[in-house]
């Protein structure tokens, strides 16, 4: 160690890693700081990749994340960490280098789940997670495929469908659920979006799945559905959610699997021995932590806002003494833009048993809806009506009775109904660990 202390190492050089590192500096940490990233790029922002970058409105390299603090850090980019030795406090990087650490912040994020079925080796199959993904897909779209098939109608699949329609491309969207975003928002809201999609010319195929892809001369040409139906498509976007590479952590005796790395409330990584490692923290997509909103059940939140908040929180705890660790609390939220709509959600819809439109109307396409569970408000959703959302987010955070905020402007007769979630929902961590409902 050449007499110099190794300091703090941040593994993962994307949004959570960068904001965590900045927070360490802002919090007064003055020692050595190293950022390790498996991608060769400086930290960049992912949300535009499935929106403006695909649409060709933003060059991929314009997604670099703004730097909020001078980091004075060592960068080890293009070097995934492949092993962790907690006893000796050393990380092993892909090039064989040993990277010692005093404290570790793990923010390795998630990666796109690849096409798991037959035909996986064909050209013309894309995922959307990295800058390279977006660049490759963008140039493939620019060569005007005759039809784009999108597998999975989650957020990424729906946004990609919207971009492709904006580009004037024929789009088929296949999902095993009855509507798009069904697992996230339920089928009632999903049906509203489905209507909008169909009006935009998307060939939406719900309640079915792609069983296999096949091609000619190594290029994808067809998708095969149950019952022998075939869709001709020369470009396939696989949007089946995310998975985590945490094998290197499990080998180090931490509680980790494809669903993430389990942490305690203070964002410290849990060891299989049952206690948190006092010097290893995690934040962002990879972290599975006991969220007070779900009664302390561990789960990960794959949204942008959580990556920022949790990284900052973990950094603050890393700077604090062991006796002053603060539990992390966070109201999850996300936004999406698709089909001319601005969609925002605050809270967690998991296991919601009631849904009510509280401002505007689904028919008008502009509305605010709230989700309830056992009489409490657990989430609020806006379709082109985001300005009111903060008031409802406050109500969600406060655990207000369902429905909250009576006597609002543009308030219809409030009628609660079932939100349309299929059966008992899996908890967020298990859902993330398994493929997006029975595809392939």
């Amino acid at each position: 160690m050449d007499g110099q202390r190794p300091g703090i190492v941040v593994v993962g050089a994307s949004l959570a890693g960068l904001r965590g590192a900045e927070a360490l500096r802002d919090g007064g940490y003055d020692g050595p700081l190293t950022l390790v990233g498996d991608e060769p790029h400086q930290p960049y922002d992912r949300p535009p990749l499935s929106k403006h970058v695909l649409a060709g409105e933003l060059p991929p390299e314009a997604t670099a994340l703004p730097r909020l603090t001078r980091l004075r850090a060592q960068w080890r980019l293009g070097q995934p960490a492949i092993a962790l030795d907690r006893e000796r406090r050393v990380l092993r990087l892909a090039d064989g280098a040993a990277q010692p650490y005093e404290k570790l912040l793990i923010a390795t994020g998630a990666r796109a789940r690849p096409w798991p079925g037959a035909g996986a080796g064909l050209a013309g199959i894309f995922t959307i997670r990295t800058l390279e993904d977006a660049r490759a897909l963008r140039s493939a779209l620019a060569s005007r495929p005759s039809r784009v098939l999108i597998v999975g109608a989650g957020l990424i699949g729906c946004e990609a469908a919207s971009c492709c329609r904006d580009l004037g491309l024929a789009v088929t969207l296949v999902d095993p659920n009855p509507t798009p975003l069904a697992r996230l928002l339920g089928t009632v809201i999903g049906a509203t979006l489905a209507e909008r999609m169909r009006a935009s010319g998307v060939d939406l195929r719900p309640n079915t799945k792609v069983e296999a892809l096949s091609g000619e001369a190594g290029q994808v040409r067809h998708a095969h559905l149950p019952g022998g139906a075939v869709i001709a498509a020369d470009l396939v976007i696989v949007a089946l959610g995310a998975t985590r590479d945490t094998g290197w952590l499990a080998a180090a005796g931490l509680v980790a699997d494809a669903g993430g790395l389990t942490c305690d409330a203070a964002c410290r990584a849990m060891a299989t021995a049952g206690a948190p490692d006092p010097d290893i923290y995690a934040a962002g997509d990879v972290a599975r932590w006991p969220n007070p909103l779900t009664g302390g059940r561990p789960g990960s939140i794959e949204h942008w806002g959580n990556a920022v908040d949790q990284a900052r929180h973990a950094a603050a705890n890393m700077c604090a003494p062991a006796g002053a660790q603060v539990p992390y609390a966070h109201l999850p939220s996300f936004w999406s833009s698709q089909f001319g709509l601005n969609i925002k959600l605050a809270g967690l819809t998991a296991e919601a048993d009631a849904l009510a439109v509280v401002q505007g109307s689904r028919a008008s396409g502009r509305f605010l809806a709230v989700y309830g569970r056992a009489g409490r408000t657990v989430a609020a959703l806006s379709f082109d009506q985001a300005r009111w959302l903060p008031a409802y987010a406050d109500a969600v955070a406060a655990g207000a009775a369902f429905p909250p905020i009576l006597g609002a402007t543009d308030q219809p007769q409030i009628e609660a109904r079932e939100p349309g979630f299929a059966g008992p929902r899996r908890s967020a961590d298990r859902a993330a660990a398994t493929p997006e409902t029975a595809h392939a």
Partner: protein
């Protein structure tokens, strides 16, 4: 027991020159009930929360009423219909979603960044011409000489309203602006006057819109008046008239105060005036700080549609709620040394343009006008000195600003 007359004291013209000590006393109770049953919101935190509260309605303008004429046809049929039509098509600052959003959408489509940017050169030329006119004088009357004529000319050009008609709508604009003042809107005579003025200016706008439809030009009014089709629906005619009136009136009544308050503040802080003179790049910071420190609009009123619990107080449904933005701007819990004019403050989240759903549509234009005007005034007025401090104020407590601002000068550079 909190003082329930504080807001009445704010409305009292004798306190117009310096309402800030009253605001400080109001902030001791963030949401304080007044003797008339209204609730005044004065802390930054409470304002922030309420501007995003969907239970606050902007449809709080008392219904318009036309006086009895003795003609039964008018009194029993025509005027009641006209009252109803006017009430249903108020300008969008007095409307709630979804109508508000639709109307605002139409306006935003015309009030484009390109249009605002294009007005830059025009504003600069106007400012120079107006200052040139003061050559040979030893006193500048800022409101008459620049603060008023500048925004009027700019909004007329943008909208496509002939500037020559200014003499006609000047008095209308001043009277309509009183719709924001609690005193005028709650007094029977005041309401009648607002209604009569609205009728008069509506007639003017109706004729102008008809002309725009016959001979469309590259201006906002022509754009707003364009006939819609199934894919691109247009604003209804009555909404169009009320929107055009709003843009015309709001387009200058507020900017007058921003420019005058800005110059007044700089004259009271000569070191800041010198800094701006030496470094025009400071203008945006000076304007933002003016918007916090001496904003053009001090408060707006709303109506609570449902009961709202906030800061330990429950505002009952149906109450009038006064959002006292100018008090939030001086909240020591939000701003360090809030009563100091400090363009260099790092974090200036003021309510100078309101906030939430009704955030000022014209903010970018107002900023351009005020920046260009203040920089030119600092650079070109030689040895400017305030003659009356405090200056005489216009009557409004909400739209608060000097009636005029006499500045002694040693020449024009």
């Amino acid at each position: 027991m909190p003082d329930e007359t504080l807001f009445a004291q704010v409305l009292d013209p004798r306190n117009r020159a310096n309402p800030y000590p009253l605001y400080a006393r109001l902030r001791a109770t963030p949401v304080s009930r007044q003797a008339d049953g209204s609730y005044v919101v004065s802390t930054h935190a409470a304002l922030r929360s309420l501007i995003f509260d969907p239970r606050l309605s902007s449809e709080d303008l008392p219904p318009s009423r036309r006086p009895r004429t003795g003609n039964p046809l008018k009194d029993w049929i025509l005027n009641p219909i006209r009252n109803r039509v006017v009430n249903a098509h108020r300008p969008l600052i007095f409307r709630d979603p979804p109508d508000h959003d639709t109307l605002r959408g139409f306006v935003m489509k015309e009030f484009t960044i390109a249009r605002v940017r294009d007005s830059h050169a025009k504003v600069a030329a106007l400012v120079d011409a107006l200052i040139d006119k003061c050559r040979g004088r030893d006193t500048v009357c800022l409101v008459d000489d620049l603060s008023y004529p500048l925004p009027v000319a700019v909004i007329c050009e943008l909208l496509g309203v002939p500037e020559a008609d200014e003499a006609q709508f000047h008095a209308w604009a001043i009277r309509l602006a009183t719709a924001l003042e609690p005193d005028a809107r709650h007094d029977e005579a005041g309401r009648r006057e607002i209604t009569a003025t609205f009728d008069a200016i509506s007639g003017y706008m109706r004729r102008l819109i008809r002309a725009k439809r016959r001979h469309p030009a590259d201006d906002m009014l022509s754009g707003l008046a364009a006939r819609g089709d199934r894919k691109n629906p247009a604003m209804g005619d009555i909404d169009l008239i009320s929107t055009a009136i709003l843009l015309l009136v709001a387009g200058h009544e507020t900017t007058v105060n921003l420019i005058t308050n800005g110059m007044l503040t700089l004259l009271r802080h000569p070191e800041e005036l010198e800094k701006l003179k030496a470094d025009p790049e400071r203008a945006p910071r000076v304007i933002e700080e003016t918007l916090r420190y001496e904003p053009p609009v001090h408060f707006r009123t709303r109506k609570a549609l449902g009961a709202i619990e906030i800061a330990g107080t429950t505002i009952p449904a149906g109450s009038t709620v006064v959002l006292l933005f100018a008090a939030g701007n001086r909240d020591p819990a939000r701003f360090a040394h809030p009563d100091r004019f400090d363009p260099d403050r790092p974090d200036n989240q003021h309510f100078g343009f309101g906030g939430g759903l009704h955030y000022c549509v014209g903010a970018p234009l107002a900023r351009i006008e005020a920046e260009i005007a203040l920089v030119a005034l600092c650079r070109r007025l030689v040895a400017p000195r305030l003659l009356d401090d405090p200056p005489p104020y216009r009557p409004g407590a909400s739209l608060r600003g000097p009636e005029n601002l006499a500045i002694a000068i040693a020449g024009i550079a």
